[in-house]
Amino acid sequence: MINWEFIIGHLNYWFFIVLMMTGLYIVIAKGNLVKKVVGLNIFQTSVFMFYISIGKVIGGTAPIFPVDMKIDNNIVYSNPLPHVLILTAIVVGVATTSLALALIVRIREEYGTIEEDEIFIIEHELDSSNKTPNTYKENGHF
């Protein structure tokens, strides 16, 4: 017997799981580096959603105290802490994404491609050539 109450009652978790798996799948399965970063973002967003959904209290209002500080104990407030945490996590996520994109730009400049399998071929040649890596002076980038 399917326990519908359980399934509907945990709807936010189901969404979270679906979103998370979508993200992870993209990260693992896609060869294009930019698509990997997109997958990573979906993956992280699922966690943000998860945090925010656990901060919601049914019937709760915005957790702002009245100016006169007369706090009515009967009012139910939502939990603001998960939002604060997620704000921090979003900033971290943005930093990661921008760094990843910057790295992709550099990879494109050095390898001429952002497809993972093509990079593998180039790297394999480098690995097996046994060539001494150049110092940057001889390499001529700068």
């Binding site: 992280q44 945090y51 500080m69 802490l81 930093a95 760094l99 990843a100 790295l103």
Partner: protein, 503 residues
């Protein structure tokens, strides 16, 4: 809104030590960018490391009697505010980080000058100091979400630092990218775990959380939180099947960064693991799930044997050392999974001793990169004669890695074997000895190429620069010192293990 704050008007620096530990490297980083001079940048890095070392030694002395320092940021008392909490274990890891940072700083001057273009130097040092800040923050904080934030600070900084190795070899870029993807997945798993714990307890303070988790070990939320955290941290610390990012990242990063990260980054991840397993989830929870016997123990044995075997067939000296690092992480995890006080002591000592050993070896590898044009074993042929002092340090490091008596590696392996036998797990002792034999093989390969494969018959001495030699030899002598005089390391890690196990 005014808060009840205890106004102590006396200004005392000792009370502020925990925050200063973070602030010194943190303030230095923007200061370097602000001044924007290469030489001054190096001096600031060196001084910041030195001051951090003094602070961390001070902290260690303060908590060496088993006391705990608790510092409330912004005067907000825990569990609401963020708390910095120092006990014997963190203080010990802090000393390790600061010590390594101080040792590698003189080495950095020539090594960075040789491997990184000049216009990037100031930003490079700033990123390095941010990485140090992040690692120290992870260790010192008593708030689980703060652990994540600091972990990401240090990880982001290390992605940047690794990718800067691209001026020597472009493969640094792809290895940094892979590390970024895997590290971010790990960190996100870690956050999911924290979120689940927060759902159950409604707090983020470690001690508070530990108290509230009492008696909730059968809840599936708590269990899945534990699983998420173990996998997340496992990705960062390169538990055996999750190690793919590590060898390439360590091989292609600038030598200075490899030396620093190899000695500290994985150790800090192990610290997080210890903290979560023993302070937050308590040993009784671990026993109930039996996770150590079924997950950590087999994986650590696999790491010790398979990673050592792969290390034997490496072409690159740095790659060889990187695989050996994975094997050594296996030793530390083995110590944890023995599930006894003596096992934990062994794990904590090995954490410290391995840090010292690896920093020496990776610095040697960096010296070869500069003088020999690369760290491939073919580059190293006959280097024992042209670079006698550097190569001698390599031999000392290798001996410590194998665990020859008189070196730091011997002490930790001895205690590990002792702990295994004490708990009636003598097959583990055999595994440890077998893995050490594998270490003899790969270290023997290095020493053979250094001294007995004189490819081009060079005899002219072409030694590495003096500043680098000083760092290398300080680290090598530390290997020997901690192998002969064991009072400090053993007493501190014993205390740390006791506090972890009882709490």
């Amino acid at each position: 809104m005014s808060l009840p704050i205890s106004h102590s008007d006396s200004f005392s620096l000792v009370e502020q030590l925990p925050i200063l530990q973070i602030l010194v490297p943190f303030v230095s980083a923007p200061l370097i960018v602000f001044i924007g001079n290469r030489t001054i940048a190096w001096w600031i890095t060196f001084l910041a490391s030195l001051i951090s070392l003094l602070i961390s030694i001070n902290l260690l002395l303060l908590v060496n009697d088993g006391s705990i320092i608790s510092y409330h940021i912004g005067g907000w008392a825990p569990p609401i505010g963020i708390e910095y909490r120092v006990d014997a274990l963190n203080a010990f890891v802090l000393v390790l980080i600061a010590l390594i940072s101080t040792i590698v700083a003189p080495y950095a001057y020539k090594s960075v000058g040789n491997e990184i273009p000049k216009e990037h130097h100031t930003l490079f040092y700033a990123a390095y100091l941010l990485c140090v800040t992040g690692l120290m923050g992870v260790v010192i904080t008593g708030d689980v979400f703060n652990v994540f934030v600091f972990l990401e600070i240090s990880s982001l900084a290390s992605y940047v630092l690794i990718s800067l190795g691209s001026h020597r070899d472009k493969r640094a870029l792809t290895s940094a990218f892979n590390y970024l993807i895997i590290g971010t997945i790990g960190a996100t798993f870690f956050v999911i775990g924290i979120g689940l714990l927060y759902m159950v307890t409604g707090t983020l303070n470690m001690i508070d959380m530990a108290g509230l988790l009492e008696g909730k070990s059968s809840s599936s939320t708590v269990r899945s939180a534990f699983a998420f955290i173990i996998v997340g941290v496992g990705l960062k610390l390169a538990i055996y099947p999750l190690h793919i990012w590590l060898p390439k990242a360590y091989t292609f990063a600038p030598s200075f960064i490899t030396a620093f990260l190899a000695a500290t980054a994985t150790k800090v991840a192990i610290y997080i693991l210890l903290r979560f397993m023993f302070t937050i989830f308590r040993p009784s929870f671990l026993e109930e799930l039996n996770v150590l016997n079924f997950v950590i123990l087999p994986l650590s044995i696999a790491a010790m044997i398979i990673a050592s075997l792969i290390a034997i067939f490496q072409k690159d000296f740095k790659g060889l050392l990187a695989y050996s690092s994975i094997a050594q992480v296996g030793y530390i995890l083995l110590g944890i999974s023995i599930m006894s006080e003596s096992g934990l002591t062994a794990a904590i000592i090995h954490l410290f001793n391995h840090g010292i050993t690896k920093v020496a070896l990776f610095m040697v590898a960096g010296a070869y990169v500069i003088k020999r044009g690369g760290s491939l074993l073919t580059n190293l042929q006959g280097a024992g004669f042209t670079m006698p002092w550097t190569s001698a340090a390599a031999v000392v490091g290798c001996l410590s890695l194998i665990g020859v008596p008189g070196t730091a590696g011997f002490i930790s392996k001895w205690i590990l074997v002792e702990a295994a036998i004490e708990n009636g797990k003598w097959p583990l002792a055999i595994v440890i000895i077998f893995s050490s034999l594998l270490a003899v093989v790969y270290c023997g390969r290095v020493i053979e190429t250094l001294y007995f494969k004189n490819g081009n018959d060079e005899t002219i001495v072409n030694e590495s620069p003096l500043t680098m030699l000083i760092s290398i030899w300080i680290a090598s002598l530390a290997c020997i010192y901690f192998g002969l005089s064991t009072d400090i390391t053993i007493s501190v890690s014993d205390l740390a293990a006791k506090m972890l196990y009882l709490k």
